[in-house]
Amino acid sequence: MKLRTLTLGLLSASALAFAAHAESITIATVNNGDMVRMQKLTDDFTKANPDIQLNWVTLEENVLRERVTTDIATKGGQYDVMTIGTYEVPIWAKQSWLLPLDKLGDDYDVKDIIPAIAGGLSVDGKLYAAPFYGESSFVMYRKDLMEKAGLKMPDAPTWDFIKQAADKMTDRANGVNGVCLRGKAGWGENMAFLTAMSNSFGARWFDENWKPQFDQPEWKNTLQFYVDLMKADGPEGASSNGFNENLALFQQGKCGMWIDATVAASFVSDPKASQVADKVGYALAPDNGLGKRGNWLWAWSLAIPAGTQKADAAEKFVSWATSKHYAELVASKEGWANVPPGTRSSLYANAEYQKAAPFAKMTLDSINAADPTHPTVKPVPYVGVQFVAIPEFQGLGTTVGQLFSAALAGQSSVDDALKQAQDAATAAMTEGGYIK
């Protein structure tokens, strides 16, 4: 009897000790398909790490950005792992707000991360966030409509070809728009597209001395081309369209071409969701022969805030979620087509992945064609392809986005929008102390 009591007592004490030892980490993330899948597969992690419990906080992208920025700036300590993008990583790392990821494990294989992506997430050679999925942008087009128009999409088209093809594919009577592009105002919406596009037109946000460049002919050429193209061949109300709106239009067969994130390829080629799944072709983002293409580079990545008390557990999780093992886990449960794209070179060398994802090669080529450290034709003092990695960019980018969106909607002229953008950028740069 005594022995039984003693055994039970010891077992209870062990259970309590284990419960007390179990550490819970809080992970902030967005509701994108790949993130949701990760949440469903975390049993694999907790089985291997029974002493770590995972709490998830899923938020809308803008709210997430605001929440994690508030938390990290005030050292609130609410999160142990944060999902952030290539815009935040260099800025936050320089502020010492993030911990360098140097304990990801012996079998993690950091060198397998695609160099362009790793470059965007590193400062002074140290990796500050591990990419969960990466993307560039490219052209998705309807092969059947292209054939009907009597054209053949080259692997690396020019903007002139895109205009020519859009004009021929537009069939408003049947609800087909030649081209669908982002128009909704926001630094991560229309300005992601327009900044990347402007790179291929030879434009830049600032010169080497941080002087705004919206008064230069390259920006005029970019914005005029965009507005003219969209007026002639874009959908109605395009100034309200972002990624999701254009995705819906393309899936319903209402766009001949759509230039947007490479991650969209898995949506438009999914027969369960897309009416045109078997008719989609892919090409690199267009250029103007100046040496830069109009494609961007982005990676949703997992980072650890410097204020966390649970850095070891957090890094274990980051290592698991961005490992080769995780890619194999997703492939075994949901097929290779659902593996998070754009982060590891080994994925693109995998024959099974290439077979399951016909857009794989074009995605990798697009990612490799983007250089965040030299994004423009002329030299610039900043890093970032579709953004400028300075804290002022979120506000300024959205202001300029609103001006350009108004130009697309016909509420102002291209010249007026550019003049106001130049004034807004000059004011922001002066206030920020970049120029006098």
Binding site: N32, Q39, T58, L59, R67, T74, K75, G76, L247, A273
Partner: protein, 274 residues
């Protein structure tokens, strides 16, 4: 003839009221309809007849666990309302029955706190919550919701109390009632309809509050507003799931509102016919 005109006017007024009501309710109705569609149906354009699938509800429950958020919403809205009433009833009593020359100014000042955009005080409030260990705590959020709705609660009760004749309270005092007995046994029973409608409105306001409830919580205290927010996606069309999450979040308060509409309407319109 006059009777015919009156009947015709009544019919027109009723029809107009129904049209306005339908217009106001239509976005909610369409959200409910969309929640019974598949994701593919949801993006295919306007359609009032769904296929009737419960797929989105099942996925939403699997993904997030509705009941934890629901429990927090109930606790926060009811708790903050009780706290607000505990402060607002004596405050409104003193302003209604013992006004000073500054009472109007105080009332206006209280209301003026509602005029500032919440985001303007996000950082100070966040820092206070951080330093007092109240981030992601139900108590902290309850106090926050009480504070932001307190001006409205005081104003509503003040307006209602002013309709109660002061002579009745004087009579109670002459019979020897103390201040608390006067408030608890004389004023409160007479003001029950007003307090009830104020309470209902405050519960609705606290239930729907989405700025602070999202920004001051992570996992423990997150209510249904955070639950809805978690289904909005920047890259992916999950409209049916988002609609199912929204329907689940608004259903309890919609049902409560339906059953208590008489008190609510009275609460929102008292004083209008004076």
């Amino acid at each position: 003839m006059a009777r015919a005109v009156t009947t015709q006017h009544k019919t027109i007024a009723t029809a107009a009221a129904w049209i306005v009501a339908l217009l106001i309710f239509f976005p909610i109705l369409y959200t409910i309809i969309t929640s019974f569609k598949s994701e593919q149906e949801a993006i295919q354009g306007f359609a009032l007849i769904p296929s009737g699938t419960f797929e989105s509800y099942s996925e939403v429950q699997q993904q997030s666990g509705y009941f934890k958020f629901f429990f927090n919403s109930v606790l926060l809205s009811v708790g903050s309302t009780i706290l607000a009433l505990l402060i607002a009833v004596p405050a409104a009593w003193s302003m209604a029955f013992s006004p000073t020359k500054r009472t109007k100014d105080i009332l206006m000042w209280m209301l003026s706190t509602k005029m500032m955009p919440a985001v303007a005080v996000l950082f100070p409030i966040y820092l206070i919550f951080r330093d007092t260990g109240l981030l992601d705590s139900r108590i902290g959020l309850m106090v926050m919701l009480m504070l932001i709705n307190l001006p409205i609660v005081v104003w509503m009760l003040y307006t209602y109390f002013r309709e109660i004749p002061g002579e009745i309270l004087e009579a109670a005092r002459m019979d020897g009632a103390s201040l608390w007995k006067e408030i608890i046994y004389v004023l409160t029973p007479m003001a029950v309809p007003g307090i009830a409608s104020t309470m209902l409105l405050n519960i609705i306001l606290a239930w729907n509050e989405a700025f602070w409830t999202i920004r001051l919580t992570t996992t423990n205290a997150a209510p249904l507003t955070a639950f809805i927010s978690s289904f909005s996606s920047p890259q992916g069309l999950f409209w049916a799931k988002l609609s199912a999450a929204s329907t689940l979040a608004i259903a309890p308060i919609l049902i409560m509102g339906w059953f208590s509409q008489k008190q609510l309407v009275r609460g929102l319109t008292f004083g209008a016919v004076k």
